[in-house]
Amino acid sequence: MVKLEQLLARKTWREFIKMLGPALALSSVMAVGLASLIMSQGNLKSLLRSQKLTYQNLNFADALVPLVRIPRTTVHFLQNIEGVQRIECRLTESGQVQLPREERQISARFHSLPGMGSLNNLKLVEGRWPKANALNEVILSDAFARAWNLHSGDSIRVTIKGQGFHFYVSGLGRSAEYIYQTGSAVSMPDDKLFSVWWIHPRILEKTSNLRSSCNELLVKGTSARQLELAWPELERRLKAFGFTQYIPRARQLSHYFLNSELEQLKAMSIYMPGIFIAVCLFLLNITMNRVLMTQRETIATLRAFGFARVILAIQSVGLSLACLLPGAAAGIILGVWLSKKMFAIYVLFYRFAYIDYRSDPDSIVASVALCIATALTGTLWGLRNIFRESVAQALVPAIPQHTRTTILDSLPLLRRLSLTLRMSLRNLFRRPFQSGVTCLGLILATALLVFARFEEYAIQQMLDQEYRISQRQSHSLIFSQRLPISSLKSVESFLGHGIAEASLVIPVSLKFGRAVRELTLVVKNPNEALRKIDVIPVKARNNHGLTLSKAVADKLGIVPPAKVVITTRDRFPVHVTTWITQLSENLMGTIVTVESDDFLKLFNTSASFNTLLYKSPNQESLNANRLLSRIPALLGISEKDFEKRAFEKTMAENVGIFRNFMIGFALLIAMGVLYNNARIQFSEREREFALLRALGFFEAELTILFWTDFLLLTSVAIFPGLWLGKRLLMALMAAIETEVFRIPVIISPQSYVWASAMLLCGVLLTALIIQPRIHQISFLGILKTRE
């Protein structure tokens, strides 16, 4: 004899087979929601772990102190300061690399080779360590090596302080200090134009004339708090050795950029999948509820035969799980695979010495539990509604909500509409809940489409703003020192016939209340044409203050006019108390600008420049090596197009990948919403269509009628969807905004058109999927049953 459980299981299985279409759509939506969360969390947590591991294993120092000269023997005596756990010294120098047939300037930073177990150590990724007495053997940063396809065993020519060397690359290395490898001149890393070298200390002692001394301290504190307390004493003792500032880890370029990125990613990993999963949960709940309502009469029949509610509930839950578990499994597999892929892309860009990729079991368990719980809530809610009815009531088909005369019918406009349009409108109003839910689903789908595609346009906008409108020069020439304005003519004579504008760019600290920020002070000339700062005018106490980037002002809570203290960050710091009188809308970088006349008065100095903006005629390139050899004070040349390309590359590799996944996910969710709603809508109107077919309506007329409903809902949903998409983006961008990087929430018309077009394509695609059901409509059974 067949067991009862087997029979019920068979029933559930057959019902599931009948529901394969909606189950597949539900599963896809769930898979996508889960995958987005698992992908983001897995990637983020692996990046955080890799960062921690690299910092720990390579003894990344808590702070860096640039000095003029400190004897090695003196360093030992600094160890006893309370709060300092370890202090080490090293030599650091800048220089250039000469590669055959390369005209662009390749800057280099040279550090003395770290000893075994010392701070800011290295991990060798290729080759071997230099031999103890081989002065020409070096370790090269693997980012630079890979960009130029260099390997251990290669020989490269470099210049340090005007002296040329031929170095033999014994190995390639990675350091916690250069996970994000960038020089100071440009904010976007370019592995081809910036290199890091770890070389024998004796070479640097010789080039910098620092025998038995060094020019940089690496400090590790017993704790962050203790180290903070130790600084006054350290500062006091280091004054004699040229102390000007200490650079805590938070202000070191690699850590700063990596942390900014991780903070952004953290916000993205919460907001974006959060929005995706919220939409999925909403759909799962609603759809499971509506799917269950199709089982109403079957459940009532079983109740009539004396089956306990709990058994029926288990059956319904079983059916829900059968619909959802494939989605959960697919979501986990997809999410883990994508997080691995994403992580692989990130580690190409952020060069961790130690990598610890693991999928995040917590987020997997939590998200699967969340999805299933939500779907089951929908199921149980539906069951509750069914169980509230008497068995007799539930045995007969649910009485449809009847149309009664409403305010809609009193509108003269309604009578002018075609009968089919009137039918559609009344249908939508007759089932306000169902229509509302469908509409909401479509609104969310539209919002996701706007949301997912936005960055592409925003970044284009940002590039346009930064590289076409704000910066109009083709090259920036950076000098090692301030030059008197009188020397401008002689520098210009080397450049050609383009436009040249001198400018002064100084690293400064801005102090507002207790908050301190390191910024770049740009001294502007009144007739500057190559640089445009987008100023937001405000009512100022006087017009001779500074203009601060809005992102920084917002972070520090500065509302102009605001009194600040500016300190230059050089060997002889100058402190000036002045006013922030205006804000600027720059999207990248942390800058504060001042008019040259105001600067001269404030700092009581004479006119000078250390940067030359140059616009070459016909976008010709400058020969960097030739200029560097002819202008001794020239430190480097950056080419705007090159920077722009580096930026675009970064975005394509970084944000672009995330965005592509999100576009795919948004499209899938939109399709899931459309398909499920179309099916439900069709089931609800099947009887009416059967009747119309019996009365002689053609298939094409029914198709039009069905899609009139759906297109009405879609057209109602599009505009709120676009609006919601923008709101979601504003929330996301506010969350991920940093001081150095801001993505403007400017949604181009193309974005809106694209989102609307995608939604309409989804409608058409769904129409094609649903069409066979209209074709196969059976009017015989339906017409013999009571409505």
């Binding site: 009968l419 039918m423 019996a694 009365l695 002689g696 015989l780 009571r786």
Partner: protein
């Protein structure tokens, strides 16, 4: 002079359930004259609804042929049959099957344009004494009123053939009589051929001919010699 409107020869309808078959209709020969009112009687499961569905081209026979004015209907495509129903056939169902989102008037207007020589929706509703109720939705009408709207909807295009499937099945006697009177009037005034299926023997009184069915077959066809008016019916 009357002519044959519909002619069925050897009609059969077989349903397959796995390896077993059920013959819902078997070897039925029948013809319907223009302007004739035929009542089909039979118990539940006798095949009368299947028969009506095939005559109304709502279903296809498994075997046999169906001709409408010498036109072979069984060879036509679904869309051609749909066009045939649209132009020639009026349908009245047991459960009215009005469109719930359209008012009484709009339900009739929906079909108004289908016929070749249509009357106006207003005429159709007035004829059935429903003009005053024209702006009411089906849910705001009584069962009898709904069925009369269904008849108005069926006749508005002046169909050549009116097929009624248990039109009084869901109604009480007095309402049923009103509905039958409406069908009778339409039949008389427009010369529409009517085929009405019912299990109520009393209704056979209004027919020109009465067909008895059982087990998917026509067991007898008899002329109604005691013709009655609908208003005189009682059950």
């Amino acid at each position: 002079m009357t002519e044959v409107l519909l002619e069925a020869k050897g009609l059969g309808k077989r349903y397959a359930f796995g390896e077993t078959f059920v013959d819902a209709l078997a070897n039925v020969d029948f013809s319907l004259q223009t302007g004739e009112l035929v009542v089909v009687l039979g118990p539940s499961g006798s095949g009368k609804s299947t028969f009506l569905n095939i005559l109304g081209t709502l279903d296809r026979p498994t075997v046999g042929t169906l001709n409408y004015k010498n036109e072979l209907m069984t060879e036509k495509t679904d869309e051609e049959l749909c066009a045939f129903r649209r132009e020639k056939v009026g349908l009245v169902f047991q459960f009215y099957n009005l469109i719930p989102s359209l008012t009484a008037l709009e339900n009739v207007q929906l079909i108004e344009s289908h016929g070749e020589s249509a009357m106006s929706s207003e005429d159709a509703l007035r004829r059935l004494n429903l003009w005053e109720r024209r702006n009411h939705f089906p849910s705001e009408l009584s069962g009898g009123e709904q069925q009369r709207v269904a008849i108005a909807r069926a006749i508005v295009k002046k169909p050549a053939l009116l097929l009624c499937d248990e039109p009084t099945g869901a109604l009480d006697v007095s309402t049923g009589v009103v509905v039958l009177q409406a069908i009778e009037e339409v039949h008389h005034d427009f010369g529409v051929s009517v085929m009405l299926i019912t299990h109520n023997v009393m209704i056979a009184g209004i027919a020109d001919r009465v067909i008895h069915m059982s087990g998917g077959k026509i067991t007898s066809i008899e002329k109604n010699l005691k013709h009655m008016l609908a208003r005189d019916l009682q059950w």
